[in-house]
Symmetry: D2
Subunit: 433 residues, 4 copies
């Protein structure tokens, strides 16, 4: 049972069950770096403003750096007796430098401290996600260029509709991920605000210099309102929203590759290194990675829903419900980063079966629109052109022909406007030039 800061008046020890129930160290230890960086900046500010002495600040900062090293080298003991990462670090600092450690907490409360850690974490993860999205976009662009001429059927309703190129198809995803980048960048503006100095909720009468701390920590802005600063988790929810939309895209492209690598589509084959197999059916390559990416959309949507629920209807300012923000955020950040890390490798290592795709275009009447637009260009009203080509397709089905097999005589029997046999070729297909 740990000594509590508020122990003085309470007549009973906190129940062990309460300690366990409210403890967050198991997950918030991920924030150790943010917490130490934040504390160092705070100590420097306290010294600069004369709230504590320069010597005390130096002792504190030195101690914090040592603790950081201990954690990173695995020499730091995490214990369930201390409920969170803040208490762990404060406690260790006291062991190291004695009571002066207590001065670090001047003009700060856990409410603004944890808000700061969360902001730093979101900023860091946002930067990481954007970098990974850059790589994803670059990979798609590369693939897209490589397959600028690879014909494949474009689908609507999972029915072959019109020919496109693989490059063009993949580039649709490029644009989705570009939007994701934009969206994370926009969201970043709302995580890039410093909450430190808000203290418990109402700031402090001590002469803090928030501007200085802001500079040290690399923030662009400071919260204008301290109650807002400690009770705002919008930036967490917005990160989860951006992540959810990103997962929609990731699940969509995964679904496509799962389809393409099925025996039925047979448009592509996964690289051995990125597939899993079956001991008995060596021809089988299971797209586990893509199924997992698709499935992980659920986890991220769930995290978003969780945080919206947590924050719904909470009065100002800090409420302990907000501790629930961490696991949802960490899990989401790690999920999207791992998906973004692995997917480009899957894509770049895949083998696309151009001949199967091309055959699939041929087998369909995916070129029908091309014929209709030919007639429109010759002056035929649109609805009529559609009707004519519809009849041509029916004729071909009956005769077991393709549209391009039709002779000029046959074409003219449908519409006099046809002036020559048409050779649908990929030059007419949308492409990513």
């Amino acid at each position: 049972m740990s000594k509590k800061l508020w122990g003085g008046r309470f007549e009973k020890e906190t129940d062990a069950l309460v300690e366990k129930f409210t403890s967050s160290i198991e997950f918030d230890k991920k924030l150790y770096n943010q917490d130490i960086i934040g504390s160092m900046a705070h100590a420097r500010m306290l010294a600069k403003t004369g709230i504590i002495s320069k010597e005390d600040a130096a002792l504190i900062i030195n101690g914090l750096l040592e603790i950081k090293l201990e954690i990173e080298e695995g020499n730091f003991e995490f214990t369930s007796n201390l409920e969170d990462i803040h208490m762990h670090i404060e406690n260790r600092l006291t062991e190291k430098i004695g009571p002066v450690a207590g001065k670090l907490h001047t003009a700060r409360s856990r409410n603004d401290q944890v808000a700061l850690d969360m902001h730093l974490y979101v900023k860091e993860k946002t930067a990481q996600v954007i970098k990974l999205l850059d790589n994803m976009c670059a990979s798609l662009l590369k693939l897209s260029e490589k397959h600028a001429d690879t014909l494949m059927p474009g689908y609507t309703h999972l029915q072959r509709a019109q020919p496109v190129t693989l490059g063009y198809h993949l580039k649709a995803y490029y644009y989705m991920f570009e939007r994701d980048k934009e969206r994370f960048l926009d969201a970043e503006k709302r995580s890039d605000i410093m909450p430190l100095g808000a203290c418990a909720l109402a700031g402090t009468t001590l002469p803090v210099d928030k501007e200085y701390t802001k500079e040290l920590l690399g923030f662009s802005k400071i919260y204008e309102n301290t109650m807002d600063a400690v009770s705002d988790r919008d930036f967490v929810i917005e990160f989860l929203s951006c992540a959810s939309i990103l997962m929609v895209h990731l699940s969509r492209i995964s679904e496509e590759i799962i389809l393409w690598t099925s025996s039925e589509f047979d448009f592509a084959e996964l690289d051995d290194a990125f597939a899993t197999g079956s001991s008995i059916m060596p021809q089988k390559k299971n797209p586990d990675v893509l199924e997992l990416i698709r499935g992980k959309s659920g986890r991220v949507f769930g995290n978003l829903m969780a945080m919206l629920t947590v924050m719904k209807g909470l009065p100002l300012a800090y409420n302990r419900d907000m501790q629930e923000d961490k696991e949802a955020l960490f899990d989401t950040a790690e999920t999207i980063c791992s998906c973004l890390e692995i997917l480009p490798k899957v894509l770049l290592s895949m083998k696309f079966k151009k001949e199967n795709m091309a055959k699939s275009v041929e087998d369909s009447f995916a070129d029908a629109t091309y014929y209709a637009e030919y007639l429109v260009k010759k002056g035929m009203p649109f609805r009529q052109a559609h009707e004519v080509v519809g009849k041509m397709v029916k004729y071909c089905i009956k005769k077991n022909k393709k549209l391009k097999d039709l002779s000029i005589m046959e074409l003219k029997s449908f519409a006099n406007a046809f002036e020559s046999e048409l050779n649908f070729d990929k030059a007419t297909v949308v492409n990513n030039s």
Copy 2:
């Protein structure tokens, strides 16, 4: 049973149940204006590029304007025989101007047409929401200034923590709604892209001039990729995300007012015009409006979850699942607009009971932090200062006194650093100056 465009080859009529099941006219008629505006721009572009004649375009545009008027004057017949708003308008146009109506659909498909309508709708609603948020912020600012000196307890964990002013408290919400505005503005960039010209999924070989249509319709950008254009609903989801975060804020401020107008808090009273009553307990004023706002967060979160689910794992390009985007979007847009419309009126008409708030501050030891910071300023380490004031509070509770009642003798018995009796006053309270 309606004649279908594809009726030619199908050997059976569409089942009546299918017609009913797939029909969207009951809700997509809300898009009539967007649909007509989009069609007029399309017709002008077709004429400009010579795809249709200027005369045909004039006929079409005139017909569309007449239809718009018919709808707005209630003279338009909606029927379950025509499945959606596009068919209704096309059908009526054909009645009016004959087969030339069919030319309007050159180089366009319902896939890009409905995408356009949705973009126009989102853009319009975003503008409306931003205007309403402006008004909300202005109202909060006004109230906030009026109550810049109204003391009240600031809460953490719904326990009185430190004194703040009502103005400052309300201003925390001002900043939340300011962020909402920013967020909708950022989202707008991703709805402000024109999908027209994408046709079914692969564009057209006809010489369309998307740049011209874009200008006519007031868009900033054109979709670079046609498959993306018809299968993108990111802008809908992002609108729903922004709306969900907004509803978090609305539910939070509603919860606060529900608390404040309870007999127990008694910090405020709703205006008669914005409360509901009880026939038997005339003293009772129920905050129904605020309860409904709080509850409506569920609806909006649900709509967001709905659209994320719909889009999860959909392969390119258009799939009929996407028709489900409309009700979720319309319901959300209408919900947030109505909440934003009514809440400022509730707030501005409320009566705040300053004396009760002030008494509540006095009754608490919300000024304890002030005493602790006094000691810190006198050089006492932070943790020690807290301990000292903790003892003072215990002493006061026992003696049934307030901190400010303590004599200098009493103060000095706790810490010699006290140099005079302290008069906590509102000058030390955070405020919105």
Copy 3:
């Protein structure tokens, strides 16, 4: 502006915006029948217990029956001046029978009245859903029997794994829907509880006879606790949960048929009456109905999330937030009923392409497991048997053979345990006998 029941003391009229914002008539008019049935039972109880006279009760009941008729014949005027269905009916009753109408509301409040209506609605819809599920199960059973011998590949990871029969595959869904039935039946126990008599929240001191009302209305139980009675919406959430799991099943079977009717799978063809087409590609049959069913899962999940959010953290007893229960429930009930109504027709009218399915089994090595189990039966350890058959499959791929083409010599070269050529036949396939 309508006269309010509580108008006496309020000094101002209710704001028009409030009336609109709080009004529920647009959606709760769906409850007219439940409301009238509930009121008739209540009136009979009031008469039986002597709280009102038999004559008054007769007048009231007669009036209510007339109103029911008016509504059903479209002769009832709904107006936005009266906020909900209860006020509409009370108001009309007063028009018809004068002040005696007011006696109907003795020992009843809108809180228990609306709870009753919701219970009646859920009970009715549950019965309807179960009936539709019965039909769904019967249809699947019928199809399943018809295709008891239709071979097809069974998939894992969307990769062909082992042969199954179409009948067996479809029967997996039969069991899912059977569980859905069970689940709705179980849920029904918790909607089958009568809340009437709870009044506003604390019951009444009038000598009501809840047992009698319960019998009249066909409930099995009465709420033991009146505060629970008016604040319980568990039965709504549970209905939405059951509906969500049902939508998972519906989305899964829809996805399968969308796959099966793609050109790539080509296992089945939709009936003309249950597909939609394209004006230009007459061979195309779009599975819009199935896509919509798949997409409607989002709407139902969203409704569930909405109601969980609404109820989260609400103190007892009635809060206006609960008015939000209606649209989520009605929309869900109507959605699942319409999906369950149409899907069996789609399934029963589809044409399955047995030869394509059979060929697909042949083309794969879906029979590999059969060979491995043969070896296990001959005494070979399982892991070794798998390894041997793995080698056989590799050999076949190289030689472009099927497993069943292997001669006894070839078989023995892999494992001496083979005693004859094996003829994998469908007798060994799992089936639904």
Copy 4:
């Protein structure tokens, strides 16, 4: 890099990133006990049917028991080289007893194995939850009896409405938790089905005896369809649904206690052992435990939403997406168990401030309904009685009196039907007798 079972044909090692991405050992090790119990039963069945020898089975079972002990004593090495708990145990078994370990996997696949583990886990957790709910109900009943006569205001819209007793109020929660129990018991029927024997998806041609395994493992039923058996996660979703409804109840009662322990309500005080404090404001007791319970509703709703999303639209049979079921389930089970464990202790240790509750009843006009019903009993129509009492309340407010202070003269001035002064007393209040 681990040797893969399917390694034979693949030409490349699995990428390290894939191993990490697909690995589940970090969370599925929680299933070790279920996995071993399932394997022991499977081995006994294999021996009973003669598929393997009794000696082999004995070796296997012995080995498994040793592994179980190793894990429970912390002597088992978990490594990221083996992707899941099944591989860990199989691998260790092979180390212990050699190749005979491979026989355990006869007539079993990881698909039915993991399904079994999940069923066993859900059954076990359901039993635990029900036991905890029993305790919760017993605690509420106890408290409820203790406070059968403790008057307090009953609220609607968070406005005092009518007097109730604390016992009665608490008992409303008793009934909610009773329904939760029922709901989990009903759900249990659908987790109590054995999937073993389904193998990968299509069962086996080996002569397994599912009935025997079922008996050994204590299941009531066997899956009728093997494809259903490996692809069913309904029982997980249903557990999450039940958990979500339970969390609604837990969040509601938590909200009430948070309100009651605020200074404004001051109806109750948390025990020191179940509150957290502030170092500087010793009078402050923060209800962290209750805030966390309220907040944890988000996590559970999110998990439900996650699993619905994962399963939406998945074709049969096993897909790797389903691996995502575990963390959502484990987290939910642990969350609800810990909430149910701690809340009764919080409740039973709280001190209720009867005098404050009673005063609160007195201060309100919560007895107005009682007066109105008195008049109704004297024959006055209901609406009129309400109007009369409404006037009486207004009179009292003006005169600063309570209703019960009114003399018979005063009463008669409002309605002649009053025959004596009324003494509203708690006998007339709803209670839990």
